[in-house]
């Protein structure tokens, strides 16, 4: 009985030893594992400073797997859950592909500046789904939430009244952002631009207002809210030699 036990043990150890030497081949790349994923999970776009009625938000994607000799298409669906507050008329998802030879692509989504954007932020929950060219995306990279708004939160008017216009209003602020690109004006911006730079930006804004009013004598730029509601927007700086 003891001999049998030893024999079994030797056979078992030999089996383990030989099986430990088995070679595992490295798995090679297989086309069917190719998938396309989002590179981020969300972004927010503000129409502040954009005078156009629509904007095309480009959402970047990247594949895992190899590039292809042909263009490949992918599918994106809108997930109808609490993250999606936009209606179909608020946006349009464009067509896109992963171009031949490329590892990255762009999903264009046209966002429309509707009236309700002044009061709220719209959002759209997108998800990549399997297509003929791509397998299902990685779970953690298949969803993307796109938000957009036209809401304006007025910043403190402390320095705006020195360089741009004395009264604060949403209209004036939107114009300043549109003309100069300046979304904030505090001590960091004063250090960045300096007094001469801010006077120059103020004059750029003032010249825009003066020229607009010349071009639209029956519809001049006025403060639509704020303490000077209904009054003309009077710039601090403008090119006097041109407009006076």
């Amino acid at each position: 009985m003891k001999k049998i036990n030893v024999l079994v043990l030797v056979i078992a150890l030999g089996a383990v030893a030989f099986s430990g030497c088995e070679q595992n081949n490295i798995m090679s790349y297989q086309q069917e594992y190719t998938a396309v994923n989002f590179l981020a999970d969300s972004t927010t776009y503000s129409f502040l400073g954009n005078s156009e009625d629509q904007y095309v938000q480009e959402i970047p994607l990247r594949i895992n797997g190899d590039s292809s000799s042909t263009d490949r298409s992918f599918n994106v669906e809108v997930v109808d859950d609490s993250l999606t507050t936009a209606e179909a008329s608020d946006y349009k998802i464009g067509e896109s592909t992963i171009p031949a030879g490329q590892f990255e692509g762009i999903l264009p989504v046209t966002l429309y500046k509707t009236d309700k954007l002044s009061q709220m932020t719209l959002s759209l929950h997108l998800r990549i789904t399997p297509s003929a060219d791509f397998e299902e995306a990685r779970i953690e990279d298949r969803d993307f939430v796109l938000r957009w708004t036209n809401k304006v939160v007025l910043p403190p008017w402390t320095f705006y009244r020195v360089f741009f216009t004395s009264s604060s209003s949403t209209t004036a602020y939107q114009l300043i952002v549109q003309v100069t690109g300046l979304t904030e004006l505090g001590f960091p911006e004063i250090r960045e631009y300096g007094q001469n730079g801010l006077i120059a930006l103020g004059r750029q804004f003032g010249d825009y207002v003066k020229q607009y009013n010349l071009d639209h004598p029956d519809d001049p730029l006025i403060h639509e809210d704020g303490p000077a509601k209904g009054e003309l927007i009077e710039p601090i700086y403008y090119t006097q030699s041109k407009f006076d």
Partner: protein, 490 residues
């Protein structure tokens, strides 16, 4: 035995010795080279027991400090004549060069690496703008004893702008100003419709038009770019017939001066720090002179018409019907303006003092100036009462130290060469530097073009006040395209 079956068999290592490759780097050390110089490395490589035919060599350059990106630059045992075009290194950052010697028989690689420091080779000299022939401009740099302090040889770096940036400057460069831009030293180059900023550390492009202005203009019809030194160093830009400035603390040009007066290209710029007025010019639309006291925001920074002065040699408020030809300020602040009457075609040189407001001093009749109607280039030196003017082939001097000016021919360009630019040499930091080369203010810089080749000639002036040119000691530099502008840089 079964358990030992997976052990690596190393039993032959002790008996089969592999040959060795030794790369002796003695004397090479850390590599340090001037940008645009050629890199040569000749390490002493000993192949112990390996046939030369069984060895391959590969030199690699890692052009991004700290990155693994590399390119093969040679496959010879010695690296020879490889021109370094990488931008100069800063701080502790270094590029890297590696030599890989491969023993092909045993598939063994022997890698030796050197850190590479690249130094700036673009120092003081003359920046030469050359037309490329397709409407663009490239920049070259001349360094020579006449224009470079402490330099004893001649070194011309050709086409450095396109070499570094991979493209030329769109448009024909017609003016260049070297200046300090915070910690960087830059060139501001203007064409008919642009202003471009270039970092002279490596001649890299750093911005254009609206990138350089707080107040964005719809167009940049550039006329002049320069520097004045009153109340600090101000860079100024004249474009769209308006003046904009960039003060000592400004990162961009500010809004143009608010004025109804249109500023012509021909302005007299007083660079002296003690200047009372910094810019004077003749206002063609209103037929009178005008001036600017300062760019400083808390000074008289408004363009103003020069007041009337009755009973003087001329009334600066009443000079109708003239055309601007040339202007400049003298070291004593006086401003000189060469004007041409639009009806009669007569030329007169008007001189005003540099006070605030300026007052008329003299008016010289240049009616007897030979060939002045054919002149294309005018130079009003600040240090002598001489005006040079050049036709396509000749330089004349108008001496106006007496009440009646004297006109003399001073120089004829070499046969077949057309004069394309003419100016007086001053260092880029004139007149605020502590010292200058002996040639400063004492040589003309002239460029010529013969239809296929452009040349730069340095013409020494032997007698200030008379404007003689020392033809025996002219220095020439060849091998350029058609030259459109020249400027000094530090």
């Amino acid at each position: 035995m079964a358990l030992a079956s997976c052990n690596e068999d190393s039993s032959t290592l002790a008996t089969n010795s592999l040959p060795d490759v030794l790369v002796d780097t003695t004397g090479i050390g850390k590599l340090s080279i001037l940008q645009f110089e050629e890199l040569n490395i000749s390490p002493d490589i000993s192949l112990e027991g390996i046939n030369e035919s069984d060895v391959s060599y590969q030199w690699r350059l890692y052009p991004v400090p700290g990155d693994t990106v590399s390119e093969v630059i040679s496959e010879e045992p010695n690296l020879s004549g490889y021109q370094i075009e990488l931008t100069p290194t800063t701080g502790d950052k270094r590029y890297r060069v590696t030599l890989t010697v491969t023993d092909e028989q045993n598939d063994l690689e022997y890698i030796t690496a050197w850190p590479l420091q690249v130094l700036n080779s673009l120092g003081e000299g003359l920046v030469v703008a050359e037309a490329t022939g397709n409407g663009d401009t490239d920049l070259s740099l001349i360094m020579s004893p006449q224009v470079t302090a402490g330099f004893t040889k001649t070194d011309i770096k050709r086409h450095i702008y396109s070499t570094v940036n991979g493209q030329t400057i769109a448009g024909i460069v017609k003016g260049i100003q070297f200046t300090q831009f915070f910690r960087d030293e830059v060139l501001l180059a203007i064409t008919d419709n642009s202003i471009v900023r270039i970092n002279t550390l490596d001649y890299s492009y750093t911005g254009k038009n609206s990138d350089l202005f707080f107040y964005d203009s719809p167009a940049y019809h550039s006329q002049h770019v320069g520097v004045i030194n009153k109340s600090g160093s101000y860079r100024f830009y004249l474009g769209n017939q308006q003046l904009s400035s960039m003060g000592p603390g400004d990162k961009q040009f500010t809004a143009p001066l608010d004025s109804k007066i249109n500023v012509p290209t021909e302005i007299a710029v007083n660079k002296q720090s003690s200047a009372s007025t910094i810019i004077n010019f003749y206002d063609e639309e209103n037929g009178q002179f005008a001036y600017l006291g300062t760019f400083f925001a808390f000074g008289s920074n408004e363009l103003t018409h020069t007041p009337s002065a009755s009973g003087q040699t001329f009334d600066p408020a009443n000079v109708p019907g003239k055309e601007n030809i040339a202007a400049n300020a003298a070291t004593n602040g006086n401003t000189r303006h060469l004007l041409k009457d639009k009806k009669t075609g007569e030329y007169h040189l008007y001189v005003l003092n540099g006070e605030d407001p300026p007052a008329p001093l003299a008016k010289y009749d240049f009616a007897d100036a030979p060939e002045i109607d054919n002149a294309k280039h005018f130079v009003l030196p600040d240090n002598q009462r001489v005006m040079y003017y050049a036709t396509d082939t000749k330089i004349y001097a108008a001496l106006y130290s007496t009440s009646t000016p004297v006109f003399e021919e001073r120089y004829s360009a070499p046969a077949g060469e057309e004069i394309t630019t003419l100016q007086l040499y001053h260092a880029s930091d004139y007149p605020t530097a502590e010292s200058y080369l002996d040639t400063d203010g004492r040589q003309l810089i002239m460029s010529t073009y013969d239809g296929s080749e452009g040349r730069v000639h340095l013409l020494p002036i032997t007698n200030l006040g008379v404007g003689n040119i020392d033809e025996a000691n002219i220095t020439s530099f060849e091998g350029f395209g058609r030259i459109t502008a020249i400027a000094p840089q530090k």
